[in-house]
Symmetry: C3
Subunit: 351 residues, 3 copies
């Protein structure tokens, strides 16, 4: 069961245009597109007439037209035109979802419409701040989205999964600090000073204009319903840590929206804004390409892990010390899903 009353990031802004895009989110088949004023619209991807996906149709100004028999729907999901028919039932409509665009993501509310509160959209300000810039990608993984959240909240895996790419033994050797609130978790680690491996090395040299050892830190921040924003930075080995001086330190924020498609598949919408060399498009392109290769190593592991779990879903798992971040995030999610079940239960059940 997925959380309903929450804002799900369902696409990155750049992905949504005046042509329909289909995406399954938390078990729901959605179609999204922009109408004439540029605002995003999110509807159920199923024509009310004969269940054809609206995503095979066309956006016509402010409506989307089903590609099968031509029925048109406005942004509220109401039919505005049924070919060969002057009048039609007001039941000729599809479900529409509250949608907002913020921080270069499109967010949709798949639960009770009256509870949709745009002010509770998570704050991912780094992704549209004028002094930060980056790019990313959207990946599809055949695993439970919580396995991806686990992965991103415990970076000790880098030492093993990425031992031939971005990993480094220092990650495992450095203790981390885990803190949490009612709906967030943070896992932090300051490493070094040491010589960072490629591909970080080139980026850090470019950002700091410094060719020696550095302190490196990361803080993995979990936010509901499945976001892991990893602040990561480097500080010259000869300077104090923490450090906000842009001549001595660089910062970036690897934002990951880990969003369920269904029970055993998910989307990883990632983007990595940084506060240095923001106009260096070659650096941006290199980050996207390098990080997609690193994530491909995780995908292999996560999908194999899912297959093992699906084969024996009830087999016991043993906890270890570095699970604390992932476990806290799962508790937050589970609590929210339990709360939702209570809210939607019939009254007598609570007596």
């Amino acid at each position: 069961m997925f959380l309903q009353n929450t804002w799900y990031p369902i696409a990155q802004s750049k992905e949504v245009r005046a042509v329909p895009l289909a995406r399954q989110i938390a078990g729901q088949r959605l179609v999204m597109y922009r109408i004439s004023d540029g605002s995003p619209v999110v509807l159920e991807d199923r024509c009310a007439h004969r269940a054809a996906p609206l995503s095979l149709g066309q956006v016509r100004g402010d409506t989307i037209q089903c590609g099968y028999h031509g029925i048109q729907y406005d942004r509220s999901g109401a039919a505005t035109d049924v070919p060969c028919q002057a009048k039609f039932s007001p039941a000729t409509r599809v479900r529409s979802y509250a949608a907002v665009e913020r921080h270069n993501f499109i967010w949709a509310w798949i639960g009770e419409a009256e509870k949709a509160t745009p002010e509770t959209v998570p704050n991912l300000w780094w992704n549209d701040h004028p002094q930060w810039r980056g790019d990313g990608d959207t990946l599809f993984l055949k695993c439970d989205y919580r396995l991806l959240v686990d992965n991103l909240l415990d970076l000790t895996h880098e030492t093993y999964v990425h031992d031939k790419s971005a990993g480094h033994p220092i990650i495992v050797k450095t203790p981390c600090e885990t803190t949490w609130t009612e709906d967030t978790v943070s896992v932090s680690r300051v490493m070094g000073p040491f010589e960072v491996p490629p591909p970080w090395k080139g980026w850090v040299e470019k950002g700091l204009n410094w060719y020696g050892e550095v302190y490196r830190y990361h803080t993995c921040n979990f936010m509901m319903p499945g976001i892991v924003a990893i602040e990561t930075g480097a500080v010259r080995a000869d300077c104090p840590v923490p450090n906000d001086n842009p001549k001595e330190s660089i910062r970036s924020m690897l934002i990951n929206a880990c969003i369920p498609a269904d029970e055993t598949s998910c989307w990883q919408m990632w983007v990595w804004p940084r506060n240095y060399a923001i106009d260096d498009h070659r650096l941006t392109a290199d980050v996207v390409s390098s990080i997609n290769k690193v994530f491909a190593e995780d995908v292999t592991m996560l999908e194999a892990q899912q297959r093992n779990i699906s084969a024996r879903p009830d087999a016991r798992m043993i906890g270890i010390a570095t699970d604390q971040g992932p476990l806290r995030a799962r508790e937050i999610l589970a609590r929210a899903i339990r709360a939702q079940a209570v809210e939607s239960a019939p009254v007598h059940a609570a007596v």
Copy 2:
């Protein structure tokens, strides 16, 4: 549940030769081939011995020999030879199906053998009349066959699904007339005069030797258990409609046998005989190639529609005016399937 006591077209005559052809029809795995006198034989595609498909074997004159251990069966399904064994049980047999060849289709009766009445094979005379000729193909679609019947009985979809190929806005703008009997449905429309789009344009010009606007008409005729024969024709804009004068009008009959393979897949055996330019083989080849491209657009839509329906099989669908033909056909089918259920119910259940 599929209709049992009916003649299913299971292949086009040209597809069946002295080599086995496997095809699943209405949930039954069949093998078909021609014996030495050219007559078609239809058997269960499963050797009585160890369930090997007979379609992996060989036709030997009047028998088919299993390709695994060499058992041979005659046209009645009885074993005629079991290697390494002089005598064998009369239970060594496979099910055989009544089969007739008519109008360039092979028809099989999958229900109660004693009710098979060759005189009730649907009349598709255009397909083997000396003054009509055409060709076609057999397609496999991953959708319920009734979705394909719906598609072919409501040609308003051409305006949208085929907007970049054979479609035209005039179809939606022209009202249709729907008539029906106990076991047939017809949906008719006379359009124009207008300038027909390609690929029709070249064909009409060739058939009429006329280069201007024309009237165009189509009549979609549903026949049990899943045939849609679409009469389509064109008449010179300066001549009366309807019109049987071969100098002023041309006719053709796009025959579609929409036959279930299983609950969510089907065969579309199509052939398009015409009464003009019947010796023009390049025209015939162009029709097959062009129409297969048009049908590929339908296949994309129908398979996507099926996926949406399978995802939420009980979700409501809204009817619109142009559904009348498809709905009548579904009623006829549903009534026949209900009648069959009553017939085969135990007597006390009816008390």
Copy 3:
């Protein structure tokens, strides 16, 4: 249900090295590899921590390290190191399986560990005898392993399945003799003299240095839990049969381990040692390549047979005379599986 208390051949010796190899055997996902002294280790392919397959990790001397978070396990399945953690629960372990290497196979015991008795490993001495040599391959088939055992115990199928390759009508024309014990079956046939077809012809000529007709014989020996060792030989037409004189006869032993992966898929680990021309590596390579092509014909048939059986699992099958070998083997297997069910039943159930 698979037999548990038995030695399953799970790989050929050459397949297992100091890198992990994953293989599903009788429903269990195993990882196997060699530790520093060369001995094989077989563990459950699922890390105790978060279910990642250990086969994605690395062998490090005497341990295997999970590729996700770096936990290491020794050959007993006990964790020896958990990164970031000085102490850890003794429950941090995976299941280990008794494993022995014999006759160039790795054998594992998936049942009750205390019943594992290395002396009961089937005797496949031809596969590591100094005067015998050959090579083979490991194939994956999408069918019940018992269908493969059936196939190898009734070689009349060669006449039909391999009619364009290694088959010959003489096989069907020659009666066979079937004998059995409590846990073995043998099916024998002496054919000829006749001119053997390729590819046998070249091999026999090389082995016997004789270019005329020969007697050919085969004896298919079933051994638990799914081994079919086919002794096959040729004797010069001018010499007596049976015949052990290496100038007048040649012998070889086509060993097939038919091992379930799950209910409808299996492994065929095959190797074909011979007692002639044992240093002729070109002959060895030719045998592997030719026999893999022959087996590919069986795979087509067996997988099609499985699909038919899966479609109607309860449909009746008719026995024929040549089934005797396969039927005896199935009885032996079924009896052993029934006995295991009785042994593991609660006591009161037997009262």
